[in-house]
């Protein structure tokens, strides 16, 4: 199964900054939100890129695989991610 890394780089998707790349670690949502998230292919192990936040800081746009997904901050709170730091 998936091991949650012990580094302190695991945070909520909603806490990322614009331009961050991250790997999905765990999805804690339930019900239809959960189903919808999974239907779109967002799953532990996948990489996402946080493109931007809306003018009122909510919702946000993610680049995922080859498409753009928009979701609310409240929905992003349920998704735990690990930030990918670019190695120089």
């Amino acid at each position: 199964m998936y091991s949650i890394s012990n580094s302190n780089m695991v945070l909520k998707l909603s806490e990322l900054q614009e331009g961050d790349c991250a790997t999905i670690v765990k999805i804690n949502s339930t019900g239809s939100l959960n189903r919808r998230i999974r239907d779109l292919g967002i799953m532990p192990g996948e990489k996402i890129y946080l493109s931007k936040f809306a003018p009122l800081k909510d919702p946000m746009i993610l680049k995922f695989k080859n498409f753009d997904i928009s979701l609310r901050v409240s929905e992003a709170k349920n998704i735990l991610v690990e930030k990918i730091i670019q190695q120089l």
């Binding site: 239907d39 498409f67 997904i69 928009s70």
Partner: protein
């Protein structure tokens, strides 16, 4: 391989479903094959009812059904339920799964679920040219072999691949393949984890129960539907274990000990795995997809930034985004009114001509009066509007098909959410008259894509507050008469007010009567696309038709009915000719005056006009002009219609009892009060209940009266 029964061998008629993700180019492909023009739904998904067309292919009669786009077989909004029900309950011979090649992994998620249905399939790998540009290269033949399904690359706009697709379709139908396309058996190397094995045991068990006696478990199903259950038992078994709400509603397992035991085992298994069976299935599907991607899909590093990315740099920009939105909405407003002005004048001319012609050829009297005032003027009032409606709908269709509406929802979601609504609702409000001009009838119909029934209902109940095309003539009249120096600003104010009331009331509804959780917003922002002229025209035509239909039916009846009320009785008790005030309409208006005058400052003429407005708001102006200037005698000589309107303007200005305050009060009242009969009828149809229709009529009247009364009294203090 199961051999087909005798009936099936002889079958020459087939039913084929076309299923795929939203924005996969499904409908364009469908149009291409059938040659028909169906609307291409982009955001939020406009193909709501199934659209079908029959083709003849090599001596076979095939009914092709284009289903609404879906991401998976768990149903969300109404259109997704429609698609799922069709795929799981109808007797289908084959599924054409349209897959968007540039998003292939996500699209395969649906494909794997469709495979569980155990129905013959062909995959149309669509838009593969666009995929190549985005660096996605797919070994489609090998992929097809791995899935045991033919994969045909296509490009939707009637270019490559369609012939080959049809050829394959014919071949598959001929072969009558009833193969068991079951990844579990054939690709078992993809699912070796112990956890899946335990789950599969449960699945087999439920499959057994389903096969043994489906009619006992699904009591209300027809024989055809029961056959589908047995044929697609794997899908049904999985869905039951996932506790799919829709399916559990139909399932009858109250006394079934076997099921009870199975569900207990499921609960224990879920505890042991620390996750739900549903998540396990979705995870396992994506694992299969990852494997397939590794083997057959090649992502090149060199992905050029697409036009969509370039546009979105500005369209969803924090500052530029809202500015661009305002500019676009303003441009639509301008476009609509400029483009329609000439046709409107032409149409008015036509009706004026008809009016004069009828006055000449029909002898003076009741019949002439009926034809002229009742029919021509009344219906002309509605049809005269049609150019504005047409251009407004054209502009909206263009927006929808281009993909921009998704960005609007993104920009406005935070605001709409404060009122308990969803970014998706925005389209319904815009179509109903958010930019001044529109119609609530197609607006309400477009709420079908809203998932949550409560959000949908809140939207349906508040779109009537929008300034639809029918309200504009009254506004135009009153503004010209009393606010001639500030016409633009007044219209703007009225537009802002309508949005304010709609959202505010929706918010209240969402915290009281229609209280509930907010539904998921998460959605895909589709790539921008140049809308196809044919589909915009078709969509516009369909929406305009709903609007024009009013004229042919409700408004015609209503105009004639109002004419009756305003003409009879012709003579008073004492034998003298009745003035308008002494007709039935006048009597009703006058008796209401006791209430309306102190509350709202409305006299009997206004009252009659407002009552006529319940039939259709367009009639308000013509009723008013009949009531005022040219009270009784519609057969007066110089009764040109254009003269009538400007005469009315002068008449109102001249009357002492009319003030700007009263005009404003009236406009707000018209904005908020009972919607027209056509809208009430659509509300009844879309909510499937008379209760909500009556509620709308009642509560809008209450709100209109309260607010207008407030304005009137507070305004009088100054």
């Amino acid at each position: 391989m199961k051999t087909p029964s005798e009936n099936e061998i002889l079958k020459k008629e087939f039913k084929v479903a076309i299923a795929g993700n939203p924005n996969s180019g499904k409908t364009t492909l469908f149009n291409c094959i059938t040659g028909a023009n169906q609307h291409v739904g982009n955001y939020p998904g406009v193909t709501v009812e199934t659209v079908s067309s029959t083709i003849i292919l090599e001596n076979k009669k095939i009914e092709l059904v284009d289903l609404p786009g879906i991401y998976g077989l768990s149903a969300y909004s109404e259109d997704e339920i429609v698609a799922r029900n069709f795929l799981t309950k109808e007797s289908i011979d084959l599924i054409i799964n349209v897959v968007d090649a540039s998003n292939i992994e996500r699209n395969l998620f649906l494909t794997l679920q469709l495979i569980d249905l155990n129905i013959p399939m062909i995959i149309a790998l669509n838009m593969h040219d666009y995929a190549k540009k985005r660096g996605v290269n797919i070994c489609h033949t090998e992929l097809g072999k791995a899935l045991n399904i033919p994969v045909i690359p296509t490009v939707g706009r009637c270019q490559q691949g369609v012939e080959k697709l049809l050829h394959e379709l014919s071949h598959q139908l001929d072969a009558n393949h009833f193969f068991v396309v079951n990844n579990k058996d054939e690709n078992s190397n993809l699912n070796q984890s112990l956890d899946m094995t335990e789950i599969e045991v449960l699945v087999s068990r439920v499959q057994g129960y389903l096969e043994a006696g489906p009619e006992k478990l699904f009591k209300k199903y027809t024989q055809g539907q029961l056959n589908r259950i047995v044929n697609s038992k794997r899908w049904y078994a999985i869905k039951i274990l996932e506790a799919d709400e829709l399916l559990l509603k139909d399932l009858n397992i109250n006394d079934n000990i076997h099921f009870k035991k199975t569900f207990e085992d499921k609960k224990n298994l879920e505890k042991k795995l620390n996750d739900t069976i549903e998540n396990y299935f979705s995870d396992s599907r994506y694992k299969i997809i990852q494997q397939l991607a590794k083997d057959y899909i090649n992502y090149s590093c060199d992905i050029k930034r697409t036009i969509t990315d370039k546009i979105d740099k500005y369209a969803t920009h924090k500052i530029l985004g809202p500015i661009i939105l305002l500019i676009i909405l303003w441009s639509i407003y301008q476009f609509t009114f400029q483009a329609s002005s000439y046709p409107t004048v032409l149409l008015e001319g036509v009706f004026n001509f008809l009016h004069d012609w009828a006055m000449e050829i029909f002898p003076r009297g009741l019949f002439q009066s009926l034809v002229v005032s009742g029919i021509i003027d009344g219906v002309g009032g509605v049809l005269g509007f049609t150019p504005i409606i047409i251009f407004m709908f054209l502009a909206i269709s263009f927006l929808e098909d281009s993909g921009y509406v998704a960005r609007i929802a993104f920009l406005l979601d935070r605001i709409l959410r404060t009122f308990g609504m969803h970014g998706n609702s925005i389209l319904a409000f815009i179509v109903s008259g958010g930019i001044a001009g529109g119609c609530a009838v197609p607006g309400i119909m477009s709420t079908r894509t809203l998932k949550d029934p409560k959000e949908r209902l809140a939207t349906i109940l508040t779109v009537p507050f929008m300034n639809c095309g029918a309200k504009l003539p009254v506004y135009a009249l009153l503004i010209a008469a009393f606010f001639s120096n500030n016409q633009g600003s007044m219209m703007f104010l009225l537009t802002m007010l309508s949005w304010f009331f709609a959202l505010f009331v929706a918010g209240i509804l969402r915290t009281t009567l229609l209280k509930g959780e907010a539904t998921p917003f998460i959605m895909e922002l589709p790539p921008y696309r140049m809308p196809a002229l044919k589909s915009i025209l078709k969509q516009t035509w369909q929406r305009t038709l709903s609007y024009i239909n009013k004229a042919g039916t409700v408004i015609l009846m209503a105009s004639m009915f109002m004419w009756v009320l305003m003409t009879f009785p012709q003579y008073n008790r004492d034998g003298s000719q009745a003035t308008l005030k002494e007709t039935y309409a006048g009597m009703i208006g006058s008796s209401l005056e006791r209430l309306t005058k102190p509350l709202l400052g409305f006299t009997w003429e206004t009252n009659i006009s407002l009552i006529s407005g319940i039939a259709a708001k367009e009639i308000i102006v013509s009723t008013m002009s009949t009531a005022y200037s040219l009270s009784t005698d519609s057969s007066q000589e110089s009764n040109q219609k254009t003269d009538k309107t400007s005469l009315l303007t002068q008449e109102l200005q001249a009357k002492n009892e009319w003030t700007p305050l009263k005009a404003f009060t009236l406009m707000v009242f018209i904005m908020l009060y009972i919607p027209c009969l056509s809208v009430l009828a659509v509300i009844k149809r879309e909510t499937n209940s008379t209760k909500w229709m009556l509620f709308t009529a009642g509560y809008t009247l209450v709100i209109a009266t309260s607010i207008s009364s407030l304005i009137f009294h507070v305004g009088s203090l100054f």
